[in-house]
């Protein structure tokens, strides 16, 4: 077919931030489907809660402190996360490196705390359906935490190599964006796991 050039796009940038970039939408997509996974797991929890006369089944509720400390740490982590975000938008490599290191350390701390939380659930996965669903939900969120931590560590290392090109700052902001999802997902799960058994 004959072609008529009606427009020139050579002045456009070769990467974008946020909704202008492809990976940002990819992250959105994965958050949507993972969020749906959480919603389904929460639905299963509430279904089991509704059909059982006693809840938690044959166990005392989880100890409050690990989950609560996590909530505090998650909420505080938004500050360095946002710091990293702003530094990335300004292409400020030293500050981005610092931000990613801090976020990696926070991720590791949360993973350690998560270990304590499993230990203080006061039930095993094979005790009852209650134990099963609690372990499933916590396991699901831990997978998210660990995946994002892995992503952050790899990105942190990458920003110390020759590959720290301008377009990588866009990747950093996507990583920041995804971390907010991990934080946001935890808040309702915390209420569900730690407080619903106390109702």
């Amino acid at each position: 077919m004959r072609q008529t050039i009606v427009r020139d796009v050579s002045d456009l940038p070769t990467f974008g931030f946020g909704p202008r970039s492809g990976p940002w939408w990819g992250a959105m997509g994965f958050m949507a489907l993972e969020g749906m996974g959480f919603a389904i797991a929460v639905g299963a929890y509430l279904y089991l809660y509704a059909i059982n006369a006693s809840w938690p089944i044959g166990a005392s509720p989880p100890d409050l402190w690990p989950g609560t400390v996590e909530v505090v740490l998650y909420l505080l982590s938004i500050i360095p996360n946002e710091y990293t975000n702003r530094a990335a938008y300004r292409y400020d490599l030293p500050k981005v490196r610092l931000g990613l290191i801090v976020m990696s350390l926070i991720g590791i701390a949360l993973l350690v705390l998560r270990g304590f939380e499993f230990a203080h659930l006061n039930t095993r996965w094979d005790n009852s359906a209650y134990g099963s669903i609690v372990w499933l939900i916590l396991g699901l969120h831990t997978t998210h935490l660990a995946t994002d931590l892995g992503d952050t560590v790899v990105l942190a290392v990458l920003m110390f190599t020759r590959h720290a090109k301008p377009r990588r700052f866009s990747d950093v902001t996507d990583n920041v964006f995804y971390w907010n999802f991990v934080v946001l997902a935890w808040l309702p799960l915390y209420v569900l796991l730690d407080w619903v058994p106390r109702l």
Partner: protein
């Protein structure tokens, strides 16, 4: 930033014609040889593999169907043992749903959507390659297990408690459950790719109300996949956990409940029907417009119907559970919503009829299959409205009436449009036309064979023949209708043999197609058949809903993209205004390695929970390899 270096880059505005084609082909082509084939990230290569693989599974699933029909052709037949029969009907359903129907629709989307929206590759091409490998490995896992006599035998829905360790102590249900995980990972990956491709990679000017109806259908389907499939993944994971590490999700003695399984399964399982049917409607709209020689009547009505169907499909799942003793109010609500979904489907059908009525239809094979679709699907829809009603459902539940109903809906609603789509897009994919003469034979054998095979099942169901029985006694009076049905099944199978012959023959000897053999209106026909690796030498600019009908002989295009590295044009979500020239990943072996690592992890974890520990590091390494920049032009921009 490196804008200065950028200025010296070779761009497509300084090259023209053959020179431009050649240059773009060089950077976009899949490397040759076996390593190249394993590294390919071209959506057309992956899409073609996806389509062929899905059709191989159709063939396998179809052979199982024929075996079942031979067994049921007469009373007290001993052709298949009860155990074999259980495996075979489970394998048939699982193969058709998870390895054929959903993947084949996604496969067509993988191939066609980037072409139809006017871009050079799908979004996240490596994820796309990974998705294909996962699908292939999951399918092989199921079929190799079957060959080793570990084929699942608990139905395609694997209800607990039958599928629990207590009642099925073999690995058969685990094979089923993990095959689900494989195929859902593959499907979810494609869903994200399609959504991002449609949202961000549309050709400039392709505003939301200029998106082809097929692409709209695939977009809605992708959203359904995204919100339905997590449910089955939670289900299959929890089933494996119950069987492997003694969790108690479905154990009623420890607070679990078998109905939880049914809720999780059908919350996915009902949208699944629409995940198969909605792409079918997209194919129908594309084919109808071309062969009725006019745009589909009521473009906004069709789109709103698709979206409405998508939403409503999440509110129907409980109608699969009417006989489980639900509260009456709940049953009433789900009856109402099940009947409601007939409204948007009906609207679409009226739009198609109006298109035919107002157009100048050319009755080529693709259109014949669409007409067959309309007849069969309407019949299936009618029996659907019947079983939406609780008293009728209670009467015919688990009988052949339901088998008849869902084959009318699924084969009518998806397979007929799909075969029409094969005839319609085969010239684009291979460059050659399928034989029209064989096509007509194919259609009439399929249409007649299908109805002879499945219509009698309505009656068999009404006179009480239950599903999933491997034989029956002569005094039940089911023999004649079963024999008739089996005869029809053979005719139907013959029609697929004809299709296969047609495809094999025409791929070599068919008439050359040219760019646009049907004089169709959408962008995939604006490039060569088969399309070159770069799809388009220049990205089209869209000014009309039917660009090739509106623009006549000259296609408006943009210039200024790189001719040195793989680059796609990103545009804004609603208005499709150009925003970014983004790099598109080059071929890589890592998606295959990641899929192999994931396969080892998945298969290992039905045998031991420790697979989670030793299976994770290889996956992590593969993913790091996948994302780590190689210093290519694509990485460094």
């Amino acid at each position: 930033m490196s804008m200065a270096a950028e200025k010296n880059q070779l761009r497509d505005d300084v090259l023209n014609g053959f020179q431009l084609s050649q240059q773009l082909e060089r950077i976009w082509r899949t490397p040759s040889g076996l390593p190249g084939a394993l590294m390919s990230v071209d959506h057309k290569v992956v899409g073609r593999r996806y389509i062929v693989t899905a059709f191989v599974f159709l063939l396998l699933g179809g052979i199982l169907a024929v075996l079942m029909r031979i067994q049921l052709a007469g009373p007290e037949n001993t052709f298949l043992s009860a155990d074999k029969y259980n495996q075979i009907f489970t394998m048939h359903g699982s193969t058709m749903m998870f390895l054929f129907a959903v993947p084949v629709m996604e496969a067509f989307a993988v191939y066609l959507v980037p072409l139809m929206v006017g871009t050079r590759n799908i979004a996240f091409p490596r994820l796309n390659a990974f998705s294909y490998w996962m699908f292939l490995f999951g399918g092989c896992f199921l079929w190799i297990s079957f060959a080793l006599n570990v084929g699942p035998d608990v139905g395609w829905f694997a209800y607990v408690p039958l599928s629990s360790l207590q009642y099925t102590p073999t690995k058969r249900p685990d094979v089923w459950a993990q095959m689900i995980t494989f195929t859902e990972v593959a499907a979810l990956a494609v869903a994200v790719e399609i959504i991002v491709t449609v949202f961000k990679q549309r050709a400039p000017g392709m505003t939301l109300d200029r998106i082809p109806l097929f692409v709209w259908a695939m977009l809605v389907t992708a959203f359904l996949v995204m919100f339905a499939m997590p449910s089955i993944m939670v289900a299959s994971t929890s089933l494996i956990l119950d069987r492997l590490v003694n969790t108690r999700f479905y154990d009623s003695s420890s607070g679990g409940h078998p109905l939880l399984w049914q809720h999780l399964f059908w919350f996915f399982g009902h949208p699944e029907v629409y995940i198969i049917f909605i792409p079918g409607t997209g194919m129908v709209s594309a084919i109808l417009a071309t062969f009725a020689r006019r745009p589909v009547v009521g473009y906004p009505v069709v789109i709103l119907s698709l979206i409405a169907t998508g939403f409503l499909s999440f509110g129907l799942w409980v109608h699969h559970m009417f006989v489980t003793g639900l509260p009456q109010l709940g049953a009433g609500l789900f009856t109402a919503s099940s009947m409601l979904i007939a409204v948007p489907s009906g609207l679409q059908i009226f739009c198609w009829l109006a298109t035919l009525w107002d157009g100048r239809p050319v009755y080529r094979t693709p259109l014949l299959f669409v007409l067959g679709f309309i007849v069969i699907f309407v019949l299936g829809g009618l029996s659907g409205v019947m079983v939406a009603s609780v008293p009728i459902d209670t009467q015919v539940h688990d009988t052949y009436f339901v088998v008849a109903h869902f084959h009318y809906v699924l084969i009518g609603g998806a397979v007929f449009p799909l075969i029409g789509a094969v005839y319609y897009w085969f010239p684009k994919i291979t460059g050659r036309m399928l034989s029209e003469r064989l096509g007509r034979w194919n259609f009439w054998l399929a249409f007649i064979g299908f109805n002879i095979a499945f219509f009698p099942m309505h009656i068999l169901g009404l006179i009480g023949m239950p599903r999933r029985v491997y034989t029956y006694t002569a005094d039940m009076d089911w023999a004649h209708l079963n024999l008739l049905s089996s005869g029809g099944a053979l005719i139907f199978a013959l029609s697929f043999a004809l299709l296969l012959i047609n495809v094999v023959y025409s791929a070599r000897k068919g008439t050359l197609a040219g760019d646009n053999p049907w004089n169709a209106s959408t962008l995939e026909w604006a490039t060569a058949s088969p399309p070159p690796p770069q799809n388009f030498d220049r990205i089209p600019v869209v000014k009309h809903r039917d660009p090739l009908w509106a623009d006549g002989e000259s296609l408006p295009v943009v210039a200024g993209l790189s001719a040195e590295r793989r680059e796609v044009l990103l545009t804004s979500l609603a208005e499709a205004e150009p925003q970014v020239r983004e790099a598109s990943p080059e071929p890589s072996i890592w998606p295959l390695l990641a899929a192999i690592a994931t396969t080892i992890f998945f298969i290992g974890s039905i045998f031991t929970p420790w697979a989670v520990l030793w299976g994770t590091p290889p996956m992590a390494i593969a993913l790091i390899g996948w994302f780590w920049p190689t210093g290519s032009k694509e990485d460094e921009a």
